[in-house]
Structure formats: structure tokens, C-alpha cells
């Protein structure tokens, strides 16, 4: 399947202190792509670049087969966007906001919009400024979904929402994805949430892409190993060592990436012993990955 989003060798500078450098990424069509990274790593900047809201110094961005920013109007008509902080007219009511929004999108699905409004229990006459944080989050998701987009770009869509609202919002999103085979590009700090819904993961740090791979590969390939008599130097191991720490006695704890069971042979070859292989979840794997990116292991 072709890619819904392709970014090639982007350079973007904001002031002197921050830049996005050598950024290339691919979001496969029909995937749910989780975009991870610590605060200030460039996630929102990347989102704004791919929507044509910021211009790169160089590089190429293709979204839904069109060129950004030249084809941006055509692309944006087929893209649902939930920004980090909602920016709607505070004095308009829910019903008014839905009408305004609908008028911009040719594929707007009024019936489904009303169904979502009922499910989300959003009162039509309430002004935006009087909505609670959870109601604002639900309204933003409603607006993004009812335009029946081919691509959804979600920047922390559930940030600060309570668990019940988060559940409603994500259920609506997944309901839509199962019906339409839309592509979802989602940033979130709630890694456990992404772990459930994503099939691809991209990790950013300090303006660069650290890793991009299928969720299964990410999760199955990162392990914590207990190694006895570890070799002083790792040499040509078939996996990537993300970290090594001394443990009890002569043993060490290693975190490795790209692990497959046959690789335990390596330890026999270097005269070490592999005591244990422990699975890591996405959050632990993510933290280890970032640590190494910042401080490579010798």
C-alpha cells in the first residue's frame, strides 16, 4: 500500500535554538501511526510541517499523494486535524461551530455528526467557552471525524481528559477507522493508549527521528537480558545494545534492540552466559531507546 504521508530530508529552523534536521518518515496508508517523543522533541512542529502550516528550509513533504504546501487546500479538505489546544470561536455554540465547520468540508456526514453529538452528550446551545475540557476534547474529535477524512492528524487528542472521556473519544476514532480504512497519525504522551491502537511507531528526540518501525517489531525486538561473565567489549553482536548496567556479582543487565531467540548463541561465542530474557513494554522500550540515542553505549 502507498504511504499516506511521506517526509523526505526535511530541515526546519525555528530561531537559533531549535531545528528539525534530516527528518524522513513514512506513514503507510491505512495504518495507525503513533508518534512518540518527549516534550520539545519536534512532534508538533512535524505535524505543522506536514499540514503546510510551517515551511521547511528544504526537503519534500507528500500527503495523500499531493505536494505540501502546493496542494495543501486539496489535502486539508481530506484531512481531519485535532490540534494540541482547541482554537475555536469561544462565543459560538456547539451547534453553530458544527455548522461552520461542516461548510468547509464537502464530505461532511451530518447524520453521523448528530449521532456523535448524542453519544458524546454535547448540548448544542452551550457556548464553546462554557464547555468543560472533556467536552471540548469530544467536540474536537467530532469535528475531525464527521468530515470523513482519509487522514486524521491528532496532536495529543486525549491529553488532560478523564479516563471515561478518553475511552469515548478513542472508541469513536476506532469505530471510524474500522469503517473507512483511514490513516491515523497520532501523538500522545499516554503510551499505553498508543500501545493498544497503533500498528506503527515513530520516535522523535531533539528534532530527529530516532526510530520508525512496526509496533510488533518494536515490542518483540526490545528485551532486557541478564548476562553473566559479560565480555568487556560488545564487538560484533547481532543485536544493538541500548544499555548495560552492572548487576549482582559479575552479572550485567543489558537492554537490546533487534533481538531474536537464535541470537543467544552470541553469548556462548564470547564466553558469557545468558541467564534471562525479559520482555519490555512500549514505555520501557521507548525510555531505553531515548537514553541510548542521547548517550550511545561503548
Amino acid at each position: 500500500m502507498s504511504n499516506a504521508v511521506e517526509i523526505r530530508d526535511i530541515l526546519y529552523r525555528a530561531g537559533k535554538s531549535f531545528e528539525v534536521r534530516d527528518l524522513s518518515l513514512n506513514v503507510p496508508g491505512g495504518s495507525v501511526y503513533g508518534f512518540l517523543g518527549p516534550n520539545g522533541s519536534g512532534k508538533t512542529t512535524t505535524i505543522r510541517l506536514l499540514l503546510g502550516l510551517l515551511r521547511p528550509v528544504r526537503g519534500r513533504i507528500t500527503v495523500l499523494g499531493g505536494d505540501v504546501p502546493n496542494d495543501a487546500p486539496r489535502i486539508l479538505a481530506r484531512t481531519g486535524y485535532v490540534p494540541e489546544s482547541p482554537h475555536l470561536y469561544p462565543m459560538l455554540s456547539v451547534d453553530q461551530l458544527i455548522r461552520v465547520h461542516a461548510s468547509f468540508y464537502p464530505r461532511w456526514d451530518g447524520a453521523w455528526g448528530r449521532e456523535l453529538q448524542r453519544n458524546f452528550r454535547l448540548d448544542g446551545v452551550t457556548r464553546f467557552s462554557s464547555l468543560s475540557k472533556g467536552e471540548k476534547g469530544k467536540l474536537m474529535m467530532l469535528l475531525a471525524l464527521a468530515q470523513r477524512p482519509e487522514l486524521l492528524v491528532l496532536d495529543e487528542p486525549t491529553d488532560g481528559l478523564d479516563p471515561v472521556v478518553r475511552r469515548d473519544v478513542l472508541s469513536a476514532l476506532l469505530d471510524y477507522v474500522s469503517r473507512q480504512n483511514a490513516t491515523v497519525f497520532i501523538c500522545s504522551h499516554l503510551i499505553h493508549e498508543l500501545e493498544r491502537i497503533c500498528d506503527w511507531v515513530g520516535v522523535m528526540d531533539r528534532g530527529r527521528l530516532v526510530a520508525e518501525l512496526p509496533m510488533e517489531t518494536f515490542k518483540s525486538g526490545i528485551k532486557r537480558l541478564r548476562v553473566s561473565n559479560p565480555p568487556p567489549r560488545i564487538g560484533d553482536a547481532p543485536f544493538v545494545v541500548l544499555s548495560r548496567e552492572p548487576g549482582a556479582g559479575a552479572a550485567e543487565t543489558w537492554v537490546v534492540r533487534g533481538w531474536e531467540p537464535p541470537m543467544s548463541q552470541y553469548f556462548e561465542q564470547v564466553g558469557a552466559g545468558l541467564k534471562e530474557v525479559v520482555d519490555l513494554d512500549l514505555e520501557e522500550g521507548f525510555v531505553e531507546l531515548l537514553n541510548t540515542f542521547r548517550q550511545p553505549v561503548q
Binding site: S171, I197, S220, V278
Partner: protein
């Protein structure tokens, strides 16, 4: 049936979903001819990727537990009694393996674990 889906577990989500359904079929909770939830319903309910549900259903179809009928949905097939017993046995082994993995993570020895199990069983049985 799906309360215990755990995204943090090392078992992939599709395998967890397929496992739950396999047990339900083996235990007779899901009867032959009964429909499974649609991919859309289940993905939305569990908040998982629809592709995950599709993969679970495909695996179950390959194993002969369910049948996917074009446009109509996915239905439970007849499972012979011996197969049911085998499935339940497999499930028990899976549970023990999970427990052992968790114990390993906590640094418990096999002895300590075995002791705890025996004590618990004794307390339960009398």
C-alpha cells in the same frame, strides 16, 4: 469476555483476543453458529486497531474455530469435544507460563513460586 486484554503484556493483542475466543468456544460460552462481534464493534469496544481484530479472527479461522462469511460476519464453528479439552489444557499451560514469566521479572525462584501455589491450593481445597 475481553476484560483482561493487556496491551503491556508480551503476548500480542491479536493473540490475546484469539485466545479469549478460543477459550469461550471450548467452554461452550460461545455456541456453534453464534456470531462473533463485528470487527468494528470489537475494535471500538476494546480500543484496539481494527487490523488486530481481523488478524485474531483470521487466525481462529485458520485453526477451524470460526468461519468468516463474506458480508455476513464471523461465526463459531462446531468444535469436537476432544478438541475442547485440549484447548482448556493449553490454556492452563499458558496461564502457568505467564505466571512464571512474571515471577522471573520479580526475581522469585521456582521453589518460592511452587511453594506459594501449593499453599494457595491447599487453602482453597481445605
Amino acid at each position: 469476555m475481553f476484560e483482561q486484554i493487556d496491551p503491556r503484556s508480551a503476548t500480542p493483542l491479536y493473540a490475546q483476543i484469539a485466545g479469549r475466543i478460543r477459550v469461550a468456544v471450548a467452554a461452550g460460552e460461545l455456541r456453534p453458529g453464534e456470531p462473533l462481534p463485528s470487527v468494528r464493534q470489537l475494535a471500538s469496544k476494546l480500543r484496539v486497531n481494527p487490523a488486530t481484530v481481523v488478524q485474531a479472527y483470521r487466525d481462529l479461522e485458520t485453526e477451524g474455530f470460526v468461519e468468516m462469511r463474506q458480508g455476513a460476519g464471523t461465526f463459531v464453528k462446531e468444535v469436537v469435544p476432544e478438541r475442547r479439552a485440549t484447548e482448556r489444557g493449553k490454556r492452563a499451560v499458558d496461564l502457568v507460563r505467564q505466571m512464571m514469566a512474571e515471577a522471573g521479572r520479580l526475581g522469585l525462584t521456582t521453589k518460592e513460586l511452587q511453594h506459594a501455589i501449593e499453599q494457595e491450593l491447599e487453602a482453597r481445597i481445605g
